[in-house]
Amino acid sequence: MGWTRFFRRRAWDEERARELDAYLQMETEENIARGMTPEEARYAARRKLGNRTLIREEIYRMNTIGLLETVWQDVKYAARVLRKSPGFTLFAVAILSLGIAANTSIFSIADAVLLRPLPYRDAGRLVMVWEDASTYGFPQNTPAPGNFSDWKARNHVFEDTAASAFATLNLTGDDTPEQLNGVSVSANLFPVLGTSPALGRDFHSEDNNPGAAPVAILSHGLWLRRFGANPEVIGRELLLNDRKYAVVGVMPAAFIFPDRATEIWVPWQFTKEKLNDHGSHFLAVVARLKAGTSLESANAELATIAKQIEREHPDDNAKVGAFAVPLREYVAGDIRLAILVLSGAVCFVLLIACANVASLLLARATGKRREVAMRLTLGASRLRIAFQMLTESFLLAVLAGSLGLVLSVWGTQFLAALVPTGIAPLGGAGVDRRVLFFNVGVSMGTGILFGLLPALRISSLNLANSLKNGGGRGSVGAGGQRLRNMLVVSEVALAIVLLAGAALMIRSFVNLVHLDPGFRADHVLVLRTPIQMQKYDTQARRTAFYDRILEKVEHLPGVITAGYTTWIPLTNEGGATGITIEGHPEPAPGQTPIPNVRIVSRNYMKALRMKLVEGRLIDEHDGYGTQLIALINETMARNFWPGQNTLGKRFKRGGFPEKSPWITIVGIVGDVHQAGLDRPARAEMYLPYEQHDFFPPDYLAVRTSGDPMLVVEPVRQQVWSIDKQQPVAETMPLEQLVGENLAPKRMQASLLGAFAGLALLLASLGIYAVLSFAVTQRTQEIGVRMALGAHSRDVLRMVFSHGLRLFLMGAGFGLAAALALSRTLGHLLYGVSANDPLSFVGVMVVLGAVTLLACYIPARRAMRVDPLAALRYE
């Protein structure tokens, strides 16, 4: 039986009625048998049974659960009330659902990026370990193999430590040649991460030994794309960089490491010397903390080991520290702060929407005073009435929440598309159970938030006054008006905070868009033709390869010029080498200058339209065996030869006693933002590839007269006409790289802008609603005043001063809060200070103007009050 009888009580009641009928008939028949007339018999039977309705009611009551019954009544009542004022209901549901949808969408992104566990076993214990080379401008540097080996051998805080290094693997053979994004790894990488191949076997530790038979494990994506998900791929041989690799495994679909672009893993085969190399820094190190070990103690131990390494290898590890960061932070990266800021912003939007609805409910409650007072007089409990009001709010919130959920499905997709692909949520974002719970929670919280105030107010009504005043007209509870004023003030304050934040973000974005990155990205095609070292094993062969490609490409129709470089801007944050400057004393440990280096072809500067500040560019005389020359950027000239004429100055590669030849500076070029548009340029030098190729120049930049994508095919054909085994990759317009670099800022600015716009709209609606209500409430007063000779100007002033007072108070609080909160935007800002006066003043002007507009309509209505009509109401 239990509580379900509550829902069956209607059916039961009908049964009882039939049962009682049966009784009556039986009794009547018996009475007739005793000799009564049918009429008498029926009466006697009825008398005996008593009041049928009472019996039924008693049974019915047995089946009700008191509270549930009350709630159900309240819900029905609230639904009726809401249906009766569809305008209010629609408006309230619309703004609340927008607020809830925005919150739900942002939460589902935040959940996917920041909260949901990473697809590794016990991922909370995984950390990335980096070198701290801040002294050299690399605060989070890729570790050297020797440092990795020492950390691994000497620490007591990690269960195990693994490492990977990016490796470009050219897949050649039967199909189209292709460049794969690979990593070479220590064999224990997958066990450290707590995963294993879905198909085939994991690496064995012997696979790391030099000379072992090369093996490879494929990503799920590569397996699908290139091998049609054929399980027989295990054991097959691939030709990678002209070496045969046996495929031994395929990873699960959800596995990503170190980034989502990685398609293939091969065990590195480092020699002992290489594993003890403390000088070249190129690894990504991941470690698993021992159970119960804190990040702090791991960092303390890493610092100690780093000090030991520094003592043992002062030449290449001076002032190099070590530290660990949780893998989660590494994966979420820069987007973390942006998501937190946006979460705050949507929360504000929802608060404003709540304040708006609360204010509307308060206004409606004023109209209900008489009704409520009457019910209180008749004995209704205040709690009961407050409950009823809350039910109405809850019903609104539930409606808004459901609509918000629907909207958020769409909103989440929209947001997920905006999140830059490199950091897109692992496993994708979507509306799932957690998001659903969040949505329900937010909706309920919202209902309480905006419903509680009106509910408390109306249930604490002063009976005598309300009834005497006749409720409604002419009796604005001063308290009610004050509450609504407070709500509007807080709306304005919240809107100011949001608008200020949005203004700062938009200014940052505009700054970035208008920033001169030091090159012209339009009309430039970028491709990557990674050189096959086995085939082109001497510098002469490599130079010839580049020369021939450039020669052919530059002669294509539609191509203006073309140039090779090691890294096109925005593709590599590092790529640096230590130098010794002629005439400078031996630098203290850690003071060695380490400028960026780009190895380029003659016309690279022209292809990118870089600026020549002084001297000359590389020309055809700068070849192999002639005087070694370099171009440097302005920052390098300023940092290393401050206030001097730099042309003709000399330096050489490597540490102080280095025997390498001098390199002469022949030109100074403008700074290029290599690491990111919002990152300042480092000191940088450009060397001709005929003279150096210690880094291979793989990126080809082609300046075209028309659409750069039109020459993609011709350029590819030219490359393949020289070497049909040559992979061509990363083909895209340079503008796309710039766009991708701007994407996060664009997303943050546009979302924050949209939220601020919503806040502005809601706040102005709030001001409008409160003023308009106040005018309605004061119609008589205004009428009397006008009858007594007040001008419409005075009425206007009255309304406007009310509105402006609200605005100024809100603006005061808002400015204070905005100044305090804008600091949290931190590195999201670019080229604008967190308390930029222009942004703040602009925001005040915009909101002020909107306030005036919101005042104008009620004010005009007030001016048109007909004194006679108003007085007649009295």
């Binding site: 039986m1 009882r16 049962e19 009682l20 009784y23 008939q25 039986m26 049974l49």
Partner: protein, 117 residues
């Protein structure tokens, strides 16, 4: 023993007694409300008049407790009637209630006739 000419004890049944009487009536077999009332009245030699107004709520209460169960059947004179029968827990409850009643009666008797028996 009440005398034959004593007025019926209508409406003065002790609370919970009606439940006990209903359960006892059903020991003999399933019955509908009308029969139950009559049986109680006859067996108490008309001393106990079941107020029909409280019979049906009592039946409902017992059914909610799971002590009796009901079904629609056909009465002696071919009418549809709702029959009640004792359930297993009802039977157990009856013996518990009956012994409690006996205890109660003995206790009251001890108070009313100290040492006279």
């Amino acid at each position: 023993m009440p005398k034959k000419d004593a007025p019926p004890l209508q409406g003065e049944l002790l609370q919970g007694t009606l439940d006990l009487l209903i359960l006892q009536t059903l020991v003999l077999g399933a019955a509908h409300g009308h029969t139950i009332a009559h049986v109680i009245e006859h067996r108490s030699e008309d001393v106990l008049q079941v107020e029909h107004g409280s019979l049906y709520p009592a039946l409902h209460r017992l059914e909610n407790r799971g002590w009796i169960a009901s079904f629609w059947g056909t009465s002696e004179n071919n009418r549809k009637a709702r029959y009640y029968r004792l359930t297993r827990i009802g039977r157990k409850a009856l013996s518990e209630q009956a012994s409690r009643w006996d205890e109660l009666v003995r206790a009251i008797n001890r108070v009313l006739r100290p040492a006279s028996e």
